[in-house]
Amino acid sequence: MKKFRRITLALVLAIAFPAWGQFSEYAVKAAYLFNFAKFVQWPNGTFNSAASPIIIGVLGDDPFGGDLDRTVEGKSVDGHPIRIKRFGAFDVTRVSQLQKCQILFISYSEKDNITEILGAMRGTDVLTVSEIEKFPILGGMILFDQEGQRITLAINPQAAKNSRLTISSKLLQVATIYKSE
């Protein structure tokens, strides 16, 4: 039965594959990054007004090229427009700037500073996303993982909870769940 399901899944994947195969990896990741806004709830008081923007910060080298800007262009979630902010490499003096983001993508280039960055973001209501290995175990929230050609998600719900963020169970359903070490 289980085997049969796997075969079915493989079939479905094979059919579906060309559908996203035509997009580059980072185009998909950019879309995911934007979509996280739909499945995450920030604590009350995060936004000054109903029209306040959701800021997506990119820390370190930007791997998206123009994909992220194209993805979010003209879009909004629950009335909040999306804004992109690029920070370059981690700088302790600019931590307060980072803390103003709602979603922070930590680029692979910040691999060596990851402990420091997560330490700085701890307790703030910023959703941290990265592609650095073991990200959720280190205390990050969402990791872009890879399963074959497919981009998967790994989530540490406890880390999100500590930052007073509520991640929809629907999102958790499609992700692998991790705990901090």
Binding site: R5, L9, I15, A16, Y32, F39, K170, Q173
Partner: protein, 469 residues
């Protein structure tokens, strides 16, 4: 009783048939209403139910669609197993390409549209298909297709039919039971009334009897109307008795006087009577006495009817009674060459009775005996049985058959055909009545061609007691 002739049915069954039919008609109407309502509303309910499922499924699959997770989508669609009426389901991504699918029966290989279609519902051949857009955060992320089969509808209708038949059967038996119980409240009082009516009708028309009025319903009305009818009848009967009484009373004295004058003429008081005149006078006397007897009988009957007959009871010797009885008949018997035998008259039996009434009864018996006997003898035998005195009148006449004996002492016989022989025929009825009111009786035994024996019984006089018991 035919099943098809409702008017010939007994009331009991009519009530039951009416009750059961009206119950069933009401039930069928109710069931039909529910059935029609179900037929009308079910497709809508079904569509709503399916739309709800689509809504839930679509909502749950937003993350799977957004983050391209086929496995989760597949697992989610598999939860549709909970609703066995859903035949197949298919999830499409926002490009309209198949994303995940579900089939209730894997072997059936239901086809779902290769690509997503316009949102909407379509019903064909009992199966219902629905296409629904899936939105997430104001953005369309995919489509959902669901299809149900006709099974559920068929099952529902079958259940409805079964329930209807079952309830129909149950209520049929309940209403039959209830009707068989309730019909008694109508039929039983009616039966009582009818039985009593028959009692009254058979019981020699005792019009003083009345029905008991059991209630204020129509049956009570029937009883009351019947009682009123009986009352009216009694009034008419009383009027008839009064008329007879007055007329016969008015006639009795003149007829007696005429008879007396004829007797005087025969005795020669009015001068010499030649043989031809004597012949006519004899005839007149016979007719006159006949008339007198008839008038006396009618008077007695009217007295009996009005209940004003009473017995004047004294000690009287049987010998005296017999002597008084035969006084007027010796001449006639001599003319008919009949022998009159007297037996036991010298034994000194004393009766405790109304002398005149016993004499009248005996005279009736003797009169009948003489009329019915053309040759031979008539015997009057006096005896006793215990404390009862017995006077028997035996003849050697034509006798009577069983049928005649049966109605001999009833007054209805008067209207019968044999009146020509026994006169008015009221005599025996009156005689028996006279005997009965003085604790006596009158019975008869007879054999056709050999003669009859009338037996008259009255209490004997007991010297020690002073009065009869």
């Amino acid at each position: 009783m035919s099943w098809f002739s409702f008017s010939d049915m007994r009331l009991r069954r009519k009530i039951m048939v009416i009750t059961v039919i009206s119950t069933l008609v009401a039930l069928v109407m109710v069931c039909l209403t529910f059935f029609l309502y179900e037929m009308m509303t079910y497709p809508e309910i079904r569509l709503k139910s399916l739309a709800t499922w689509a809504q839930i499924m679509g909502d749950n699959s937003t993350a799977a669609l957004t983050f391209n997770d086929h496995k989760t989508a597949q697992e989610m669609l598999a939860t549709l197993k909970a609703n066995p009426s859903i035949l197949s389901a298919c999830l499409y991504d926002n490009k309209g390409q198949q994303f995940a699918s579900y089939q209730r029966d894997r072997a059936a290989r239901r086809r779902y549209p290769a690509v997503a279609e316009q949102a909407g519902a379509e019903s064909s051949g009992g199966s219902l298909k629905i296409f629904q857009d899936i939105f997430s955060g104001g953005e369309r992320v995919g489509y959902l297709f669901l299809e149900t089969d006709t099974e559920e509808m068929r099952t529902r209708l079958t259940h409805y039919a079964l329930i209807t038949v079952l309830i129909g059967l149950i209520s049929f038996f309940i209403s039959l039971f209830v009707a068989s119980r309730l019909q008694r409240y109508v039929t039983e009082p009616l039966h009582r009334v009818v039985d009593r009516m028959w009692d009254i009708a058979r019981g020699e028309w005792d019009i003083t009897k009345r029905l008991e009025v059991s209630g204020r319903d129509e049956i009570g009305d029937v009883a009351e109307a019947f009682n009123a009818f009986m009352g009216k009848l009694q009034t008419v009967k009383d009027m008839k008795s009064d008329l007879i009484s007055v007329v016969s009373h008015q006639l009795k004295t003149p007829v007696a006087e005429i008879n007396g004058f004829i007797e005087n003429m025969l005795d020669g008081i009015t001068g010499e009577v030649n043989s031809r005149q004597r012949g006519y006078l004899d005839q007149m006397l016979v007719i006159g006495r006949g008339n007198y007897k008839l008038i006396s009988d009618l008077l007695s009957i009217s007295k009996i009817d009005r209940g004003v007959v009473s017995a004047d009871i004294h000690p009287v010797s049987a010998k005296e009674v017999v002597a008084l009885t035969i006084r007027d008949y010796e001449q006639i018997m001599k003319e008919k060459s009949l022998i009159l035998r007297l037996e036991g008259t010298e034994e000194g039996i004393m009766l405790y009775a109304d002398r005149d009434k016993v004499v009248e009864a005996l005279r009736n018996l003797l009169n009948n005996a003489i009329k019915c006997t053309d040759s031979g003898s008539v015997t009057i035998r006096v005896g006793s049985e215990g404390d009862q005195g017995v006077i028997e009148v035996l003849d050697t006449g034509i006798g009577m058959d069983e049928e005649t004996l049966g109605s001999l002492f009833t007054r209805n016989r008067v209207l019968g055909q044999e009146a020509h022989r026994s006169g008015a025929g009221l005599g025996l009825y009156i005689s028996k009545y006279f005997m009965n009111i003085q604790k006596g009786d009158l019975t008869v035994t007879s054999e056709v061609g050999k003669g009859s024996c009338f037996k008259l019984v009255v209490p004997k006089y007991m010297k020690q007691a002073g009065t009869a018991a």
